[in-house]
């Protein structure tokens, strides 16, 4: 078992901030933790890594109890950039991680190049921009080739190029067998990264969100939009119209092949099919309608 969190409950004074969280991850995957501020995402990650105490429950990562420091040989946690020391260089940080993880120092250069920070590796962290700090944090957590990578808001402060690069690295790590848990507010990035999204609301992990929520929207460009609208109405297929030549539908209503067949049977020519993923944001809107409306 990669992650085993059972009935995790945490209280701050009288307020329950984690209300019996259960997570079981058996195979490598990328999991996104999504929720509004204060929903308990960071608290959950901090409890899992023994930074915070909790009143009830049990956490095991890679089969080891969360209090066992040796698990950090194969578990990395990317945190807030405040953990960095301004008066030291990026190289000093990396060298420290290498020394405690017993990794050859020669690997620093390789990892720095991979995350694109080789140019400022020997600058003091106090002179880093927000994005540069995120690069360093990423380099520090991937240098040990972790089996489990926990990330708290890794995309903060990253420019589009860096965000794309980070996504590429995370996907590569996932392909190499790393399980990644990412807490993020960036729903677009999450959509590009994973289909497995755990929504958190008021300290609870919403059970219905545990299923794969991915679905797709299709935009079909046709030669005769009026005819297409009539056919779809007659067949009672839900659809939307976009522009002068496009009809759209959701995969949850009808599968793509049936839709194409329906149009083809009525001599409507399809000239293009555009696929749009409907993921995190749609689901987020449904789950957090109350917060959004207020």
């Amino acid at each position: 078992m990669i992650i085993e969190v059972s009935n995790l409950k945490k209280r701050y004074k009288k307020q329950m901030v984690l209300k019996g969280i259960d997570i079981q991850v058996e195979t490598p995957q990328i999991i996104a933790l999504v929720g509004p501020n204060g929903s308990g995402k960071t608290t959950l990650l901090n409890c899992m890594t023994n930074l915070l105490s909790f009143q009830e429950g049990e956490v095991r990562l890679l089969g080891k109890k969360h209090t066992d420091a040796s698990l950090f040989l194969k578990v990395s946690y990317l945190q807030d950039n405040r953990i960095l020391y301004g008066n030291l260089t990026g190289y000093d940080h990396m060298k420290f991680v290498c020394s405690v993880q017993k990794i050859p120092i020669s690997k620093i250069k390789e990892v720095a190049e991979r995350v694109g920070m080789e140019k400022y590796l020997k600058k003091r962290v106090r002179n880093y921009s927000l994005g540069m700090k995120q690069h360093l944090l990423l380099a520090m957590v991937i240098i040990n080739e972790p089996k489990l990578l926990l990330m708290d808001e890794p995309l903060n402060g990253l420019d589009p190029t860096s965000a794309i690069n980070m996504r590429k690295i995370l996907l590569e790590l996932y392909q190499e067998g790393t399980t990644i848990v990412v807490s993020s507010h960036n729903l677009d990035e999450i959509d590009r990264l994973t289909n497995t999204i755990y929504f958190m609301k008021d300290g609870a992990l919403l059970k219905e969100s545990l299923q794969d929520i991915s679905s797709k929207n299709y935009l079909i460009t046709v030669n005769d939009i009026e005819k297409a609208q009539k056919v779809l109405k007659d067949k009672s297929i839900p659809f939307s119209v976009s522009g002068e030549y496009q009809v759209g539908f959701e995969e949850t209503d009808i599968d793509l092949q049936s839709f194409i067949d329906c149009l083809n049977d009525n001599d409507i020519t399809i000239t293009d099919i555009e696929v749009q993923k409907v993921g995190a944001e749609k689901r987020y809107r449904e789950l957090f309608e109350e917060e959004l409306s207020s």
């Binding site: 105490s53 950090f72 990395s76 807030d80 420290f96």
Partner: protein, 372 residues
């Protein structure tokens, strides 16, 4: 070792460390500058001291003359007047021997004066010098004569060893405590405040190693700072001072008897006892940081504990207390100079024992320490 070098880097590459080293250089340079400026006043000050004593003796002469006018046969007053006159003559002679190369004649005359003053007091005369001052001065002068070492001004001397002693005196009288609190007082608490402790807590490290590394790095930084301070004092003293003698005698009172230690011995003892005290303070800072996780609260608590401990225990006059008082080296000068019914090293075992106990508690505490 891996963590220790990282901890050392964090302190040594900080601006604060640089500022403290700079402050040490400026402070010692200022001290030497002051000595250079006031050196010309040493002779003037000696003359003023003689004038003050003359005033005392003249006032006493008036009293003796007045009594003898009423009672010309008063033998006791006659004797006191004779002694007083001898002291006045002695002072006039001493005034003409203030040049540095005349120190042996001057010391002999001074000792004659002190002996006469002692006899004068014993025979009922009033004098501003106390018996203790007389006996200390007599003993010191005799020792200087015997060793053929010229006397040095206690505050403004530019003699190389005496200048180092001035620096070390400032260091042991709160200087070391101030430096160590500024330098490593927040070594643990700032980690909690900045959340950088999270980096250490999420590495494959035993948390007890973090405490050990923090303490060792603090001690190493203290040793480096002390070495730097002594090196700067040596360099400035060597360049701007003059040779002097490391066996210059320092008067210590041991069981009501006057004894001597050399400046070299004094410096060694001073550095040993202040270091023992600093180890205690560092450990206390680390331990309290684990409880408060806040620098201000930690530092106020440390200072409060040290102050309360020092004041409370110093009210106890029971002499075996020297074995049980871990706070006695906070201001250690007195401990070295006055060793009545106790010895300077007696507080070392209890201070080290308390340090070790606090270290063990800190090791236990950090195991369950959280960042909330």
């Amino acid at each position: 070792m891996r963590l220790l070098s990282f901890e050392l880097k964090k302190i040594v590459f900080s601006k604060k460390f640089l500022y403290i080293l700079l402050g040490i250089v400026i402070g010692i340079g200022f001290l030497m500058g002051r000595n250079v400026i006031f050196e010309s006043n040493i002779e003037k000050e000696a003359r003023e001291q003689i004038d003050e004593l003359l005033e005392v003796n003249f006032a006493n002469a008036k009293i003796h003359n007045s009594i003898l006018e009423d009672d010309p046969e008063n033998e006791e007053q006659k004797e006191l007047r004779r002694l007083n006159s001898a002291m006045i003559n002695n002072l006039y002679e001493t005034r003409n021997l203030l040049a540095p190369n005349q120190f042996q004649e001057r010391l002999k005359l001074q000792n004659e004066y002190y002996s006469t003053a002692e006899e004068y007091k014993q025979k009922g005369g009033e004098h501003s010098l106390t018996y203790q001052e007389i006996s200390h001065s007599l003993a010191l002068n005799e020792k200087l004569l015997e060793s053929e070492i010229p006397p040095e001004h206690e505050t403004y001397s530019r003699a190389f060893p005496n200048f180092i002693k001035q620096v070390v005196d400032l260091f042991i009288n709160l200087g070391a405590i101030l430096i160590i609190i500024l330098l490593v007082g927040e070594i643990m608490s700032s980690e909690f405040e900045n959340r950088s402790i999270n980096l250490l807590f999420t590495q494959p490290l035993k948390r007890t190693h973090i405490i050990t590394s923090k303490l060792l790095s603090s001690i190493i930084v203290y040793v480096l700072t002390t070495a730097f301070l002594l090196a700067v004092a040596l360099i400035i003293g060597y360049v701007f001072g003059y040779r002097g003698f490391f066996d210059y005698p320092i008067v210590v009172e041991v069981n009501q008897q006057i004894e001597f230690i050399t400046i070299a011995e004094y410096l060694l003892i001073a550095v040993i006892v202040v270091s023992v005290s600093v180890f205690l303070i560092i450990t206390l800072c680390v331990l309290l940081s684990l409880f408060f996780k806040n620098t201000l609260a930690t530092l106020f608590s440390v200072l409060g504990i040290l102050l309360a401990g020092y004041v409370l225990i110093s009210t106890i006059s029971w002499s075996p207390m020297a074995w049980f008082n871990p706070f006695q080296y906070l201001l250690p000068e007195e401990i070295i100079l006055v060793q009545n019914a106790r010895e300077w090293w007696q507080g070392i075992p209890v201070t080290l024992l308390l340090t070790i106990m606090l270290y063990v508690i800190a090791r236990q505490k950090v195991r369950t320490s959280k960042v909330d």
